[in-house]
């Protein structure tokens, strides 16, 4: 089959023209974007003196307040960008400015907007700009029909910093419109140590998911005041297994010697190998030598992961634990390989092969 030369040339010209048009379009987009960026930066530079004036300790020779309040909306963008990077009186000053400029009241009105993106944006803005005000209105969005809005509300409550939000956030980890525990956990951590008393009380809460989350957070905080309540959770055989495990791990992080007894009890008496393993790991972290004998007994456990955790915990107990491990490693019992592996790890970064099915 032969193709007419004219047709080939025509097709080639069309393709070339198309490429030229596309290249021109890309160049135009770059040019416009560059101009927009330059314009935004210029506007920001022009408005920065207003931000400086607001934050200045000595406003006598500053800019009139009316100029600041009447400045274009770009000023709000600058302030909202700056807010997360500042704290103390600077942050409060900028929050007050946003309130005076009507940014906060507009966001409150937008919390009930029809479009989810507007509700999400409004609650995020309030979390940064409104401080501890409007917590109830923000918390109402934890039950929003949109998951994105619910997550935005949780993050905003964390940023707002009011410990009064703890109960709302914990309620949001259960139910039909439950939030991912990771999102709620990060928000609760953002609240900082002011939330600790409320978190301790929440260890006796209604839902297992929230009790487990609270136990984990108290462990992350390393809160010694939470140890007695966490020890009660580990002791309670009727408690959810996941909650007991999380409480045991938290006790290991807190590191109080008062926790040795309930952890030893969990290691010795529990029928849940995962709890036994967690208890052994926690005992290793606490480092109380009175756990040596129960941990040695754990080296004879049927579950290989429990034996390994006990061996590692003994290795962490110091000279006494090491001497016990050397004795076991020299013998011919089932725990000898685990004891030897734990000793090897003490002497260098040798990884014990993980048994099948052990996470």
């Amino acid at each position: 089959m032969t193709v007419p030369l004219g047709g080939v040339l025509l097709a080639g010209a069309a393709v070339t023209a198309l490429i030229i048009v596309l290249l021109a379009a890309v160049a135009a987009v770059h040019l416009l974007r560059g101009r927009r960026t330059s314009r935004d930066e210029r506007r920001k530079r022009e408005l920065m003196p207003l931000v400086h004036a607001v934050l200045d300790d000595d406003p006598d020779d500053g800019i009139p307040r009316s100029d600041v309040l009447g400045a274009p909306a770009d000023l709000d963008e600058i302030v909202l960008d700056l807010l997360p990077q500042l704290r103390g009186s600077d942050r409060e000053t900028l929050r007050l400015l946003l309130a005076e400029r009507g940014v906060v009241s507009r966001a409150v009105a937008d919390l009930s907007a029809r479009k989810p993106w507007r509700r999400g944006r409004a609650v995020s803005l309030l979390g940064s700009a409104a401080g501890t005000h409007h917590v109830a209105a923000m918390a109402a969005l934890l039950a929003d029909r949109s998951l994105e809005v619910r997550c935005a509300a949780a993050r905003a409550l964390g940023k707002a910093g009011d410990p009064g939000a703890v109960a709302h956030l914990l309620h949001a980890v259960a139910g039909e419109r439950a939030l991912p525990t990771g999102v709620v956990g990060m928000a609760l951590l953002d609240l900082g140590t002011t939330a600790l008393p409320i978190l301790r009380d929440a260890l006796t809460g209604e839902h297992g998911a929230s009790r487990a989350l609270v136990a984990e957070l108290l462990g992350v905080h390393g809160d010694p005041s939470a140890a007695p309540a966490l020890e009660d959770l580990v002791r309670d055989a009727r408690e959810d297994r996941g909650v007991r495990r999380t409480a045991a791990a938290a006790l290991g992080r807190i590191g109080s010697p008062t926790s040795t007894e309930p952890l030893v009890s969990a290691l010795t008496n529990s029928t849940d190998p995962r709890l036994q393993r967690t208890a052994a790991e926690a005992l290793g972290r606490i480092g109380d030598p009175t756990a040596t004998i129960p941990l040695l007994a754990g080296l004879a456990d049927d579950d290989v992961a429990v034996r390994a955790a006990c061996a590692d915990a003994l290795a962490a107990l110091g000279a006494e634990g090491r001497a016990s491990l050397e004795q076991v490693a020299a013998g011919a019992g089932a725990a000898a390989p685990d004891a030897q592996a734990a000793l090897d790890e003490l002497d260098g970064p040798v990884r014990r092969p993980q048994p099948a099915g052990v996470a």
Binding site: M48, H52, L55, D58, D81, P84, Q85, R87, S89
Partner: protein
């Protein structure tokens, strides 16, 4: 007049810090990346460097270490204040190991920054 070099790739933060330090009667220069910051430090011989950690080209730790190993003993002794969001224990260790004199962690307070700058400069450098 004492001279402070501010090195931060965020122009809003750099402007704010420069403004607040300028109000103290200090001479302030600003650079927006580590490489330019190091070059400016070698040229201007500032009395103090306020340095962001995470920056393009050269990060704050690299700049700090380069200053400390500079052939000029006066420049090698220049106080360096790290202004950074990295506030974990290992970060502080790394910062001090690189030669930082002090830390201000983000989110930060300009009042705290001013106090630390004042403490790092020779007495009388800062007007009340």
């Amino acid at each position: 007049m004492s001279h402070v070099l501010v090195v931060d790739d965020d122009p809003v933060i750099a402007d704010l810090v420069a403004f607040r330090l300028g109000r103290l009667g200090l001479e302030v220069s600003v650079e927006s990346d580590g490489e330019a910051g190091l070059a400016a430090a070698r040229q201007l011989r500032p009395d103090l460097v306020v340095l962001d950690w995470m920056m393009p080209r050269m990060n704050g730790l690299e700049v700090c270490a380069a200053l400390r190993s500079d052939a000029d003993p006066a420049l090698a002794r220049t106080p360096v204040l790290l202004l950074t969001a990295k506030a974990q224990e290992p970060d502080l260790e790394r910062g001090f190991a690189a030669g930082a004199t002090d830390f201000v962690t983000k989110p930060f307070s300009t009042r705290e920054l001013i106090s630390r700058v004042t403490a790092a400069l020779p007495p009388g450098s800062v007007s009340a």
